[in-house]
Symmetry: C2
Subunit: 470 residues, 2 copies
Amino acid sequence: MLPERVYAALEDVVGKENITASKEDLLCYSYDATNTTFMPDAVLFPATAVEVSRVVEIANTEKFGLIPRGAGTGFTGGSLAVFGGVVLSTERMKSVIEIDEENLTAVVEPGVITWEFQQDVEAVGLFYPPDPTSKKTSTIGGNIAECAGGPRAVKYGVTRDYILGLEVVLPTGEIISTGTSTMKGVVGYDLTRLMAGSEGTLGIITKATLRLIPKPEKVITMLVSFLDVAAAAAAVSDIIAARIMPSTLELIDAFSIKCIEEYDPERLKNVGALLIIEVDGISEAADKAAERVEEVCGSAGATGFETATDKHDVKNLWKARRSISPALFKLKPNKINEDVVVPRSRIMELMTGLERIGTERRLIIACFGHAGDGNIHMNIMYDRNNIDEATNADMAVKEAFELTLSLGGTISGEHGVGTTKAKYLDMELGPVEVALMQRLKSMFDPNNILNPGKIFSGSASDKKVPAPAF
Amino acid sequence: MLPERVYAALEDVVGKENITASKEDLLCYSYDATNTTFMPDAVLFPATAVEVSRVVEIANTEKFGLIPRGAGTGFTGGSLAVFGGVVLSTERMKSVIEIDEENLTAVVEPGVITWEFQQDVEAVGLFYPPDPTSKKTSTIGGNIAECAGGPRAVKYGVTRDYILGLEVVLPTGEIISTGTSTMKGVVGYDLTRLMAGSEGTLGIITKATLRLIPKPEKVITMLVSFLDVAAAAAAVSDIIAARIMPSTLELIDAFSIKCIEEYDPERLKNVGALLIIEVDGISEAADKAAERVEEVCGSAGATGFETATDKHDVKNLWKARRSISPALFKLKPNKINEDVVVPRSRIMELMTGLERIGTERRLIIACFGHAGDGNIHMNIMYDRNNIDEATNADMAVKEAFELTLSLGGTISGEHGVGTTKAKYLDMELGPVEVALMQRLKSMFDPNNILNPGKIFSGSASDKKVPAPAF
């Protein structure tokens, strides 16, 4: 529990109605998508950068951890108070300050919900591509902190690629501006992108200037069936190798298909894997790309090819895709979700390798995700109360990471390291790289106030995590 | 001069034929595009990251500055030995190690010439967009260190956007890997983009993994004439506001037009400003975009509109564009070239403001550049031996930066800070931001070995520049 002195100091900054330590409230800020819970000591709802800065100063004086939190949809525990401390929610900082239609830029506060922002910009013919599957709930601030991706990253890139500048409160309390409002800028070091994907450990984002692009004139959505996942994975490689640039190229394996809500047994009979493919651009370009996708998929052995003919169809298709992740719990009560990435030509090896690991470990490993950029979400399903299954699940994660790295890949494409991947950090990064990153963290945050226990918690920095003051 | 002991130690690393301290050789590595010269104490040509690492270790032991150098085409003195020291040329590290046609990636050494690499990838139907005007000479390593842009940045982004991973020798000698070989990756802090644009002050790039995209099927190049620069600038804003995404949108003012080689007085009669506009994509998309560009330019008062009909035409047009910068010396013997950027809707205000400054200071300020992303190359022409002109030129730079910043812009879009902009750094960045960047520099390079005197030389870090040991 927070000492009264600290509570009063924080209350003085944000106001009585914007701080809570009631058990019911704390519970609401104790979880994320990892299915684990850690109770914070308090939750704060500051409204401005100045308030955030004053809170950070108190945290440095009193030496407690501050955990920035958007919507808490992360898959790696980035917003969890693993050592207690105070959760700093950006919920009240939710203004779209400006959409500049002449310059194709926008200025937003961190608590803006990504999907709502996208609706706003699309209403004026503009487009903000990053589309994490959580977008209907997750926030721009959280997306930036994690460098979120999504299905459209294959063509449009990730959150990092749409940030022009940031306002950030440093872990030592100073408010800084990074980057520019312009399309280009190379004055000084790139602090903007150092913040992107830093998982709330180097600063708290209080404002972002984002780059927008014209909204594509036409989008064509296709659903392509294959007998098995190997054939679908081969089609993914063939599409990329054929120099087609789809705006989305999603793969869904058989386990995942079975979990889709509204699962239509008749329609999906004998379907061992699906690709959802979107192409976009001006009308003629989209049509031409769709034709070429159909050709390549045909040659790769597709057994079915449908084009979504109206908005309703498309909406249902994506609803089904988004439903996979939660629906997997039909298979088993617990899930380990990892978002590995391999070079696109190695997807087939990854998928067959994961199948082998699943068989050997007697586990269901359901795979789906952004195959177009080699980013597969592998979901190891197990029962936590079954010690044998839990042990095998743990071993399967390690084996899957070994496989991924042996194929030239990375253990996280968009979810980050957080707490869940921290113990595997050394598998991908060398000791010199980890030490350099830890020196960076220490330089920014000498008291280790900001989001302690994340990224490096499995390594030497463990020792530096402050004992919660209360 | 290098002490014999040091020379021998360096020779031992790179071999006798790959080190020189002869005056003739040093002269060749004493200049860049800033038209100033600084003689280094020696020039080294290492061939591998291990050699670079050993050289860096010697520099730390003997405390002398190391200045990494690509082709020396920079406009801000980034590759100059302003305090003496040893130039480390990447000339011998010029292998294209791999072009992976399946995964649309390439691995190159830093000394690869950008244009040659582009020819290689285009030969297999792929595309590496970053195209600094120096591309026929400049290197990938130099482009990364400066985060080079170019005409195509308006659609395709800058060098930073095409780097997946790097091999870097740190200023303390360790060889690190950053980033991934995959399209996505968020494991740990983004050291890749921290290196991009760090102007050789945080590390020496020894290898880069680059992202490629499919080569556009068709490119249409248009030359559009206007009565004056205000009309052309308005057309630029109109094109962006009309949601057209040209692949190039270059503006050339009247002074620059006069300097173009092969200047055709008949053809360019009454032309006060030109736009070179390119659109690309699949054939139908390019055609449609070109039509829309013609419409918008017509409404904006274009007095002439030509489409380059064959490759020869296009080549000549770009040759003329590239010839402007050197040809400006026809006007005056000295030039200050600055690459300011403003939001695209403010280009007209920038151009008219620069015209006013030129009139008031009795100087020719010739402007051209990447108007599509708001990045204008302003060239203040003067005679260094005329004290009055030289003083006015200096004042004009400051006034132009004040104007740029008042319009929401930045003082450098792609050239970097180097030495020439260092004294203006504080105009754009606040003291907290500069101090943070200096702490970063000190953390990476405690002995200030790497490229001393750059970025921060006008500020507090001056004191930290090591006295050359010899």
